[in-house]
Amino acid sequence: MSDLTDLYQAVILDHNKRPRNRGRLPTATRVASGDNPTCGDNCTVYLRMEGDRIAEISFDGSGCAISQASASFMTTQVKGRTADEATARFAEFKDIVTTGRQPEDFSEVAAFAGVHAFPARIKCATLSWHAAIDALKQPDQPLQS
């Protein structure tokens, strides 16, 4: 079980137990959701942009520890960045969870590299990122209540 416990122990349980930026963001101007029909996991991402930059971000939804931790982690990684920077970040994250390569910089992400050993779970790790990228592509409009 050591690979697996390592994976969960490191960043994942931490983000899972104390999620960052969780909950609906009332000031959001862009929202997107994704779900993983295989597991029933779902994730909604809320964004407020300032120009091309992500000023605020939060997530909501339910799912396994990997998807929840990854969503929490994702918000910390893209906040304050431009859409292009966030997209590049996602590309790197996806590469890491798929291949298992240990990144040189981007250090906190290293823990997620362990996901690659559990191919069925890669979708859990990328769910929130996909929703974030979707949200970035939308036009600004006030959040419906």
């Binding site: 697996l4 969960y8 996991d41 520890a65 069925a120």
Partner: protein, 411 residues
């Protein structure tokens, strides 16, 4: 006691492997079962010797294929006590069987009619009825499931109100694949018949696990899959009372199900050919008959007792784990070899991935039962489901693994 059937495990080749360095503990029988050597051999023998197309051939191999195929049909008829082998339609599985009967009966439904089902149906015995209701204007109603953990089973008292003369069809599962509830199927059929409703039983989880007799059940239609009862993939059965099948329009059309065709139209054969357009899965039917032989050699009474005992033992061992929430019937009620549970804060998928590291095959998710899961307030559960080759020792391995997982996620 090691197992009611200590001698069966060698018959199942797939059981003898390691997963992640541990001996496989296969507890995902609700999804599909493993196949005994006898079934695999029957498939090989068919392909090596008799292989040919059925029905329209007059040469030796074709006659042998046809004989094997029709003997398989007779075997199925005997297995479920059908009156007539024309009542046995070979299909891909439960899902296709329900679709055929839903579309077939749909031709007679109109607005104001009611199709009754239950809150504990698998999507395969739910969505086809939703589609038929949508297409015909009939109303779909649900018999509620009682209890915060679904432990109360179907609300039989509500049936009095729900079973009106408007109910034309009552479709329900024999055994819930999520809760492990064994429904009082004969009683449900009797009460449905009293208001003139036709009954459709989803026997996906009961076939090959419990004695099953369509005469004793008194049902009009019954659907099941071979792959969950030691049989091959891609084969299943729609049973229907002959007069009803012969009155029903065909579903798929094409070769083999027509009496005559011209450029204007076609006339249908009677059941079962009417519902078997195209070349059937002959090897699958032959393998299914071999599975039935295997199961009856063991004995369905004994298999049921074994399943029930393992489930009771599993419920007892799991209840020892802190934070464990177990769904389904409590002791004393009829319950099958299926135990669904939620383990404290740990999400079902994490539980399944951790158990897999210990070689244990569990299922985690909504079990194709999303509406019920939502009603019970659970996005998903983990499920252990048993069959004739499982042992008490395997449940001990499961309990030890779950305890470790619980500690990890709580700690």
């Amino acid at each position: 006691m090691s197992s009611v059937f200590p001698d069966l495990r060698p018959h199942f080749p797939a059981l003898h492997q390691t997963v992640n360095g541990k001996p496989l503990v296969y507890l995902d029988n609700g999804a599909t079962s493993h196949k005994p050597r006898a079934v695999i051999d029957a498939l090989v023998r068919y392909y090596e010797r008799d292989n040919s197309n059925v029905h329209r051939g007059l040469h030796a191999l074709s006659m042998r294929s046809t004989d094997s195929f029709e003997a398989a049909r007779a075997r199925v008829a005997a297995f479920i006590h059908a009156q007539d082998q024309a009542e046995i339609v070979f299909v891909r599985g439960t899902t296709e069987a329900v679709n055929i009967v839903a579309r077939g009966l749909g031709a007679q439904l109109k607005p104001g009619d009611v199709v009754l089902t239950t809150e504990m149906e698998h999507h395969s015995n739910l969505v086809p009825w939703q589609q038929v209701a949508k297409a015909t204007g009939a109303t779909l109603c649900y018999v509620p499931v009682l209890g915060a953990d679904g432990e109360g089973g179907l609300d039989l008292a509500a049936l009095d109100t729900l079973l009106t003369p408007q109910v034309k069809v009552f479709a329900f599962t024999h055994i819930s694949n999520t809760l492990g509830t064994i429904n009082p199927a004969a009683e449900l059929c009797r009460r449905a018949r009293a208001v003139g409703a036709l009954t459709v039983i989803d026997a996906a989880q009961s076939i090959g696990h419990e004695p099953l007799d369509v005469q004793a059940l008194g049902c009009d239609f019954l659907a099941f899959s071979g792959h969950k009862m030691c049989g091959p993939t891609g084969i299943g059965v729609l049973y229907g009372r002959r007069a009803l099948l012969d009155a029903m329009a065909p579903d798929e059309t094409g070769g083999g199900m027509v009496v005559s065709v011209d450029y204007q139209g076609a006339r249908w054969k009677p059941s079962p050919e009417r519902f078997e357009a195209g070349t059937p899965h002959v090897a699958g039917a032959v393998g299914l008959a071999a599975a039935m032989d295997y199961i009856d050699a063991v004995g369905r009474e004994s298999i049921a007792a074994h399943d029930h005992e393992l489930a009771a033992y599993a419920r007892q061992r799991l209840a020892e784990i802190p934070g464990m929430r177990i769904l389904g019937p409590t002791a004393g009620q009829p319950r099958a070899g299926i135990v669904s549970f939620a383990l404290g804060d740990a999400h079902a998928h994490d539980v399944v991935t951790f158990a897999d590291q210990d070689g244990i095959a569990l299922r985690g998710g909504h079990h194709c039962n999303q509406p019920l899961m939502r009603k019970l307030g659970l996005p998903s559960t983990a499920r252990a489901s048993f069959y004739l080759y499982n042992t008490r020792e395997e449940i001990d391995v499961l309990a030890a693994s779950l305890l470790k997982i619980q500690k990890f996620f709580a700690g």
